[in-house]
Amino acid sequence: MSAVIAEHDDHHDDHDHGPAKGLLRWIITTNHKDIGTLYLLFALAMFFVGGAMAMVIRAELFEPGLQFVDPQFFNSMTTMHALVMVFGAVMPAFVGLANWMIPMMIGAPDMALPRMNNMSFWLLVAGVLLLASTLFMEGGAPAGGWTLYPPLVLQTGKAFPFAVFSVHLLGISSIMGAINIIATIFNMRAPAMTLMKMPLFVWTWLITAFLLIAIMPVFAGAVTMLLTDKFFHTSFFDAAGGGDPVLYQHIFWFFGHPEVYVMILPTFGVASTIIPVFARKPLFGYASMVYATASIAFLSFIVWAHHMFTVGMPIAGELYFMYATMLIAIPTGVKVFNWTATMWKGSMTFETPMLFSIAFVVLFTMGGFTGLMMSVAPVDFQYHDTYFIVAHFHYTLVPASVFILMAAGYFWLPKWTGHMYNEKIGQLHFWLSAISVNILFFPQHFLGLAGMPRRIPDYAVQFADWNMISSIGGFIFGVSQLLFLWIVIDTIKGGTGEKVSDEVWEDAKKHGLEWTLPSPPPYHTFTTPPTEIPTEHF
């Protein structure tokens, strides 16, 4: 062993490791910045794939009657849209941000487990490709909804086992990513970076990583039980053999509810990073933000059956899940109040990342309100499985998670590339997105309340008008996102040509370690840990 090290030293003692040359760099890389870039670009690609599926859905729903697709394919589209967006776009995008930013925010040279980092990315690609391949199989892609409820999901054609295996791959990838993030945060912080000095983005990801480790095995277990029910004559979910289809729903939502928080907690973290910079103030209530995040994460484990109020539970169960769910409003409210207080008496400017962040606070709160309405079980008997819930969770995912991912892109692209993006096009992208996303999703509240169930390819004529408006909003929103694609490419190629400083945004150095590094940062950063860290909140 010592001989190997000696040889290594002979060849490399006088210069830094750079990236490998050519395409191979991206395949074998163990560098957190390269892997972060891979994750982010992959997520962006999947965002457009999932978006194209949403366009198919909205095109079919533009008018009553079946115009473009078969109902079976329509169901495949709703299922695949959800799976691709959740597992292919939003989660990988946040893992990409974590890869890029966590080491730079805590003063670490890289992630703790760089080879595993590479492996978790390529397993993700394998998992998503396997999932996408089901579209071309006999009997079509899974069409039972992203929740994969039995017995319906067992009617899937040849695609069924492939979908299950792709979930396994995606789960392994997520768990490895989560282990890596936890190991990095616990072991690689700069000496001065105590836990309660960590940026909120690092905190939210730490908590999210624990959620992932807890829930992904549960989901993997549930789909494995589906697999054995289908092929090995078990009856976990089949009443005829003594099983219970509702058992699956309990297991799924024990995974599923924390899963939606996996997509929103890092969102909170990014918002808490961006808003103080553009308000030129420290984040209000840092400690309460940390505790609120932890509370939300804890509550996420004990509220799962609010997705199942109509499934037929004992009254005691229904009441318990109603009360527990209502509690989530308290820590979530604290967060919204804290962001508002951070803006209060600040000195705000409204560059594109700030615009997206403000839109996030407002529109996420709208999604929170409808969430509160649905927590009330008797009223949920009306809302459940209608377009009202579709509107609700899209408000908490699109103008929340996706908007914050856009904000993060605009916020850190200058740091990552050393180039400034085109602010005019950025603002155009923001206004088009913010207006069209409301034309797209707000009318869906009305549709749900008026009685339109979700996941139907065709509808009664009284739902025609709002559906048409919603579809028009959807098309505008979809096309607007091409502006973001253009901006990403343009900024990587040189952007406005303006030279960006290390801190990019005015006084950003006060807010985070990443702004003390050059723009773009060298391939390896913080090989010696920083001695001074920004302590805006102390």
Binding site: G65, P71, Q72, N75, E138, G139, G140, G144, G145, Y149, P151, L152, Q155, A239, A279, R280, K281, P282, G285, S288, T310, V311, G312, E318, L319, Y323, M326, I330, V334, T340, M343, W344, K345, G346, S347, M348, F350, V361, V362, T365, L372, M373, V376, P378, V379, F381, Q382, H384, D385, L449, A450, G451, P453, D458, A460, V461, F463, D465, I469, H537
Partner: protein, 376 residues
């Protein structure tokens, strides 16, 4: 208030430059026609107003700040970053609001779950893709399928849905209930999970295969109330509506008597003309077969076999009768079809131009020989 909402909606509509004779901009939850649905509506409005009130407070503060505390106006940033007092206040106040909401919610919940002392029971079975209703007291038992008008319109692209009355919300045989009677529903399913929802009754309930769920209603006034399946149940999930007709007790009793008489009638075994067999056969096909085998008999590749040119369909007739009555592991047994219906169906599928088959024979009801004797 309603006028104002309509005005608001039509303004949005006009700014978008669209026009339609079918403008129907329902915005809010429907109040419904039962006590439960009124309670739920009131609860909905209470929470909606609480949310509006909080929203005005939070967004108002935020937009005041956005307008006044901006750098371009020369506002200097203050550097405060915590205040224990306000943080405690904005934790306590939401808690109190939640408790205030939980009390009426709990009351409504207990009432909805109280199925005791029901005066009659209806068993509802969800099937791919229709509902099966059984009145446990009177013995009335029938299937309720999407009506023929909607069935044709959603399968054949040149029929405009706007010309079909109650498109996708109409059935061939509606559920009939008496008003002002506490009716207990029990729900189950035959294949996958379905969910039974009529918004005017105020709730939906899942129908799970192998298990029983309960719910109750008592309808205030006569009328026709429409709903749909609300749990994704496969390809034709969007095409299994629910229609409930509520009528006074006397009319209901008459309906029960009439329905029972029809239900118990022996099949008409008299010979029929070929045209009669084909026309009625098409109806039977639309009710029972079209969901899987499709209107042109091509089936769905990978899921349901084609009838068009199928050797089983166009081959010898006796095995075909047995096959339809016995079913397979994939296809349900159609022993529920009476002999006349079976004769019509078989004649239709062997000869229908729409299915592309032309055997050129026919079978009369009295020639149907049962493989299983379905009489009890």
């Amino acid at each position: 208030m309603k006028k104002a909402k309509q005005l608001f909606a039509s303004m949005i509509f006009m700014t978008l430059g669209l026009g339609s004779a079918h403008a129907d901009y329902t915005l809010n939850l429907m109040e419904g026609k039962t006590k439960l649905s009124h309670d739920i509506y009131d609860l909905h409005m209470l929470i909606l107003w609480i949310c509006v009130f909080i929203g005005i407070g939070v967004f108002g503060t935020m937009f005041y700040s956005i307008y006044h505390h901006r750098k371009s106006k020369g506002h200097k940033a203050e550097q405060f970053h915590e205040n224990t007092t306000v943080e405690i206040i904005w934790t306590i106040i939401p808690t109190i609001i939640l408790v205030a909401m939980a009390i009426p919610a709990t009351k409504a919940m207990l009432e909805i779950n109280d199925v005791k002392e029901a005066e009659m029971t209806i068993k509802v079975t969800g099937k791919q893709w229709y509902w099966d209703y059984e009145y446990t007291d009177s013995g009335v038992h029938f299937e309720s399928h999407l009506d023929e008008g909607s069935e044709r319109a959603h399968r054949v692209s040149n029929i405009d849905p706007k010309t079909v009355p109650h498109y996708l919300l109409n059935v061939d045989k509606p559920l009939v209930v008496p008003i002002k009677k506490k009716i207990r529903f029990v729900f189950t399913a035959a294949d996958v999970i379905h969910s039974w929802w009529v918004p005017d009754l105020g709730w939906k309930k899942d129908a799970n295969p192998g298990f029983i769920n309960e719910a109750w209603t008592s309808v205030d006034e006569p009328g026709i109330y429409r709903g749909q399946c609300t749990e994704l149940c496969g390809r034709d999930h969007g095409f299994m509506p629910i229609v409930v007709i509520a009528m006074d007790q006397a009319s209901y009793d008459a309906w029960t008597k009439d329905t029972l008489a029809k239900q118990n009638a022996k099949p008409d075994l008299a010979d029929q003309t070929r045209e009669q067999l084909m026309a009625k056969g098409e109806s039977v096909y639309l009710r029972n077969c079209v969901a899987c085998h499709q209107i042109d008999g091509t089936g769905i590749s990978g899921h349901f076999p084609a009838l068009r040119g199928s050797a089983k369909v166009t081959g010898p007739i006796d095995p075909l009768i047995g096959f339809l009555q016995a079913g397979t592991s994939r296809m349900p047994a159609f022993s529920k079809l009476k002999d006349d219906e079976l004769a019509q169906l078989i004649t239709y599928i062997r000869n229908a131009p729409a299915l592309g088959n032309k055997v050129g024979d026919e079978i009369q009801p009295n020639k149907i020989t049962p493989v299983y004797d379905d009489e009890e």
